[in-house]
Amino acid sequence: MACANLGRTLKFIMDMSFFLQLTINGILLGGFYALMAAGFSLSWRVTRIINLAHGEFVLMGAYLAWFLLNPKESIGLDIGIRIPIMSIIMVGLALSLGLLLNRFFLGRWVNHPWQRRSASYIAGIVVTIILYLIWSASDFTPIDPFLAIPLIALFFFGLGYIVQDTLLNRLVDRPFLTMLLVTFAIKIMLENFSLLIYGADPRTLNLAYGGSFWRMGESNITISQTRFFALVIAGTMILSLAILLRGTRAGQAIRATAQHRIAARLVGINIKQTYATTFGIVLALTGIAGAMLSTFQPFTPDSGSSWTLRAFAIVALGGLAHVEGIVAAALLLGLAESYVGGYISTGWAIVVPFAVLVITLIVRPPRIQASMMIEQA
């Protein structure tokens, strides 16, 4: 009698701890999702472009993190592949530094636009070369993805600025089919590019602390360290995004442009530049999300669209209006995936985000449709 009771209690405790474990995993996953979807929703809200290549940019971040952690292994790659990657990274970094210097720092000292521009880009190139020389002098020490965050953010900012400036700004007044096709083409392009370079095998980062975790007291509940760090980074990034949008002049310009493009232009905001900056920020967030992803999950070149659809599901669930909505929806999705994976099977957990996307759009379209009405007007 007592024995049976004890067994039941034990089972309950086991169930409880299993449940708690799933909850913790779900929250950790949801934090990462929030970071990933934050960029997606920002570019959608501001530039009105639904970026179907979003997941590929996430993966690009992951591959960049892998490249920085395994430069030796990359050197083992074909030289015809290594040199292009290295030069792409360096060009992106140099451009990004130049852009930032030009827009935000040198304005105080150098007044003439041409002088300022050339000074900034030359400075960007010089700094990049110095960074490369330092790295090569240290015999290409592996760079930990968490330490590489500033570098990754910088590279992706430049990349986003350039992509928006050269390509995506052309989509602004086009029919949505053109927008979807062009971003889908970018997706295919990036996917096949990484397939060409890295092959179809899943890759993982071999971090020293990759498998380590904290145990909660005496229980079986564990918290993976990398996932926890990823959550912290995600929270920091989302907070700083909110501060950037609400507290700075650039953020004000971005929000004004999101509200009404023409009105913003009339009060003197450079729309194209604002869009480019926005997409730079978006890709910086996305790249960081990718680097975080690489620390706790294997990734393959063809898994990009599942990330895009997840981001979409989160936006559909949380709405475009507030960052809070995105965070809540991301946590919800993370929890749902975790519970389904724990109680049913991991196979069905993959179905969850797609089902959430489809069902949310079908059952509750108005909130998202309202933003579409603005598009049409």
Binding site: L177, L181, V182, A185, I186, M189, A313, L357
Partner: protein, 587 residues
């Protein structure tokens, strides 16, 4: 009268006739036995892409619903034949059916899937539809992977041994492609094609012209679902197996769309031309570019999407749909004589005989969140009356119109048309009860020609479904011709409606309301807008057509403001109040 209007002018028309299509199909049929295996294989692949693109074109091009998950029907077809013809006995049916029977089953199951999927998703528009379908494809693929009892999971289904010969596959694919292509050619020339084009242009306006948009789009989606399942079934039969990744190929979508775009979106020959061009390019890239060919292809897609949105056919055909300044010089000369006969006809047309109010509103109220846009409007309009609806800006005139015509549902109150309660009806149904309207911001179907605009807004009441598949009957065409002549738009018949001036577009819109033979016409219009450059003619028209009941709203305080002689607005209906807050927040 204007017989030249009946045939759309196109220099390419003779080249792209149905006869040419049949000749092409027969050629492909008879040359087949003499070809070697690799040529057959190449032709089969080409046919498959033409078929896929044709079926995508029906929903994405004709109806304007860009489906980014279309490959899911490929998978549905593949799994249907897979389950029916599988090795072993997963189902008791297995092995008892022949391939043609399985094909028919694939078509039916594809159509059923399309019905189930399309019913909820086709309510979404634009990019949202595209993305929900992308999600749907991923979801169904993963579900297929997780149901080993039905689909044998990730391993997939292997087909039972009698494997088909290449020639057999070629013939099956040719037949499937021919059916799809000829159907799309047929639909393009039928009234259904006009309906679909109208739907793609402006769904609300199409709805308001009496086109049952829900039936049309779900119907076409079912047809397309069945067609694509046929292709998927044939492909799976050829491959000999079906597994989730192969049966639900995500990259098919982009290639289908690319083919359609390359050839010409929304044109029946677009997929054929695009398919041949696409495979030629792809072959070239395969031999030279190797693994990078998809990268080059997608770069090409960006270029096409940005620089040549009309595709190959668009380059050749752009002249036809130009602004038409060339045409604007010849003004109608035959107008005066026609006008006489037309006005007689107009007088004779149905003057309702009842003395009951033709249109009646009781306590119509509409709230937007906390804002009450219109509050308890009551009116009764007798047959033959012309009523002006007046009120200051923002007093809710257009909202009242939207409520009457079914675009908005009133929060409270009832509306009767000719004794029938139309309060909760959809716009197309309201139109079929005999109410037509114009829109304040002119809504003609800009991508259609003026003549097609008229045909799209014909009287759809009592037109049976099968008649949709035929072209418009002669009396409808004649009627369109007469109205166009009456409105002075005959010279522009085959010009794209986007090339008309605002005043001409307004006239066209009035012509479109007349086409549906309505009891009541609501003209939502600012007086000075419609009298823009054809003031004279327009007034003449409104005066003479007094047989109908009209409601004019007027943004100006008085219809006589700018000194123009206005139509006899006898009883005037005023909305006097401004918006009121009833508490709560606006939507």
């Amino acid at each position: 009268m204007s017989s030249q209007n009946l045939a759309p002018p196109s220099r390419l028309a003779s080249l792209f006739s149905p006869a040419a299509a049949i000749a092409l199909i027969l050629t492909l049929l008879f040359i087949a036995p003499g070809l070697d295996r690799s040529t057959l294989q190449f032709l089969t692949i080409t046919l498959m892409w033409v078929a896929l693109a044709s079926s995508w074109n029906l929903i994405g091009g004709y109806a304007g619903y860009t489906d980014f998950g279309h490959a899911l029907f490929v998978g549905v077809g593949a799994y249907t034949v897979g389950i029916l013809l599988a090795q072993g006995d997963a189902l008791s049916l297995a092995g008892r059916l022949t391939f043609p029977q399985a094909l028919i089953a694939a078509f039916l199951i594809g159509a059923v899937f399309a019905l189930v999927i399309g019913f909820p998703t086709l309510r979404l528009k634009g990019a949202y539809f595209a993305i929900v379908m992308l999600g749907m494809l991923a979801m169904i693929r993963e579900i297929a992977r997780n149901l080993p009892g039905v689909t044998q999971g990730g391993v997939g289904i292997n087909f039972a041994p009698p494997f088909p010969q290449m020639l057999e596959i070629y013939y099956v694919m040719l037949i499937v492609t021919s059916i799809i292509f000829l159907t799309s050619l047929w639909i393009f020339r039928s009234q259904l094609g006009t309906m679909l084009q109208a739907l793609a242009q402006d769904e609300i306006a199409a709805d308001m012209r009496g086109i049952n948009t829900t039936t049309v789009k779900i119907g076409i989606f079912m047809l397309v679902g069945g067609f694509t399942a046929l292709i998927g079934a044939t492909r799976a039969y050829w491959l000999g197996f079906a597994n989730p990744d192969l049966a639900f190929p995500e990259d098919f979508t982009i290639q289908m769309i690319m083919i359609v775009l390359l050839g010409g979106l929304g044109r029946p020959w677009g997929p054929v031309i695009g398919g041949v061009a696409f495979l030629a390019i792809q072959n070239l890239l395969w031999t030279n570019g190797g693994e990078a060919h998809l990268i080059i292809m997608s770069a090409l897609l960006i270029v096409i999407a940005l620089l040549f949105p009309g595709g190959i056919l668009g380059i050749f055909n752009s002249e036809n749909r130009s602004t038409g300044s060339r045409l604007r010089r010849d003004q109608p000369s035959e107008k005066s004589t026609l006008l006489l006969s037309m006005t007689d006809t107009l007088r004779e047309w149905q003057r309702p005989e009842t003395t009951n109010p033709l249109l009646e509103g009781r306590d119509i109220t509409r709230d937007f969140g906390g804002i009450r846009a219109i509050n308890k409007i009551n009116f009764q309009i007798q047959p033959g009356e012309i009523v002006g609806l007046l009120g200051p800006n923002g007093s809710g005139k257009s909202t009242l119109f939207d409520c009457i015509s079914g675009i908005l549902k009133p929060s409270n109150g009832e509306i009767f048309l000719n004794g029938e309660d139309i309060t909760h009806l959809n716009p197309w149904r309201v139109n079929r009860y005999g109410l037509a309207r114009t829109f304040q911001n002119i809504r003609v179907f800009e991508g259609l020609t003026v003549y097609e605009n008229m045909l799209a807004s014909r009287k759809w009441r009592a037109v049976p479904l099968w008649a949709w598949m035929w072209s418009a009957p002669p009396e409808t065409r004649q009627r369109a011709d007469e109205f166009l002549a009456y409105l002075g738009l005959s010279p522009f018949s085959h010009m794209s409606a986007s090339g008309l001036s605002a005043g001409q577009q307004r006239l066209l819109e009035i012509g479109m309301t007349l086409m549906s033979d309505p009891l009541v016409i609501l003209i939502d219009d600012q007086r000075h807008q419609s009298s823009y450059d054809r003031r004279h003619q327009n007034q003449h028209f409104t005066l003479e057509s007094g047989a109908w009941t009209h409601i004019f709203p007027d943004r100006a305080q008085s219809p006589f403001r700018d000194g123009a002689v206005s139509p006899p607005l006898r009883p005037q209906l005023w909305i006097a109040h401004r918006r009121r807050h009833t508490g709560g927040s606006p939507e």
